[in-house]
Symmetry: C2
DNA sequence: TATTGTTATACTCTATAACTATA
DNA sequence: TATAGTTATAGAGTATAACAATA
């Protein structure tokens, strides 16, 4: 994450009406902060949060096709291609043409992919634990509940 | 649905462990959903959420300089230039060289800028009200509180 | 020397259309 | 006809470096 960018939480003399008290704006600022922290944590693996989500999903669901990954993660088919290309180039997963439907690629993690997924999952759990400490256990659970409603 | 499909994973049957139960992931999905809804609402004004934030901040704080906008909103000076260029080209605000410090531009909304800000603020209120209905009044307030902690 | 606004540049993420090979 | 993967491309958003004018 960028460390020299202004964070914008210092100037208390400005009138932030219409921004600070709105879910739309605070959700964006919070997401940027949390995403940036996770990006920093994953740097040791040269993995970005979006790549982690793909590894996690395929690790959970071997032989998943690219289309199904896209539906599950809410991304475009065309944009997944490059992500899979890079993870495959790095030897973290493999494409195999499906026997049942030769249009589809079955995706599977390699042993290196499983190792990277295990390490990144540790980092994610550390990250979530830090969030939990700043929100309190009740706040963490309540935030999950409320965010879940927004995603629907 | 083909009943002979062997290990095809239906979308509802996917294992989303490590994604759905994590604040990092749900925060991202929720932010994308909410940001997209606000983007749709603002379309009638040909205004994007980031431009709205700039108009809102300058409307609240006349004569603000570009650097101060950047600190308040957490964006880069270099990236604000184009945003201000476009809003100025559309006649929504004006730059004036500061008397006190001739390096700085004082930013001020035009009457058109105030009109667009007023209308977009109405749209934002409608958007936030819809969020409030889906979360409940208590949930909405609690979400604001929790997101505020994450932004710190 | 430091800061403000600016230009240039690059990289990521996202969105759409069109192609191919399969179904 | 429809779908899976792919290519190409364009638009946002964001990051860094460097420069001129000014402090």
């Amino acid at each position: 994450m960028n460390t020299t960018a202004p964070r914008g939480n210092a100037d208390e003399l400005l009138d932030l009406t219409g921004l600070n008290g709105k879910v739309g704006y605070l959700l964006r600022r919070a997401q940027i902060a949390v995403h940036g922290e996770f990006t920093d944590l994953l740097r040791e693996l040269k993995l970005r949060p979006g790549q982690f989500a793909v590894l996690r999903l395929i690790g959970n669901n071997p032989k998943l096709t690219q289309s199904k990954v896209c539906v599950a993660l809410g991304i475009q088919r065309a944009n997944l291609v490059g992500v899979i290309d890079e993870l495959e180039r790095r030897g973290l997963l493999g494409r195999t043409t499906s026997d049942a439907d030769r249009r589809s690629n079955c995706l599977q993690l390699t042993s290196d992919g499983h190792r990277v997924l295990a390490r990144s999952t540790e980092l994610q759990e550390r990250h979530e634990a830090a969030i939990g400490r700043s929100l309190g256990a009740g706040g963490y659970a309540e935030l999950l509940r409320l965010l879940g409603k927004l995603v629907d």
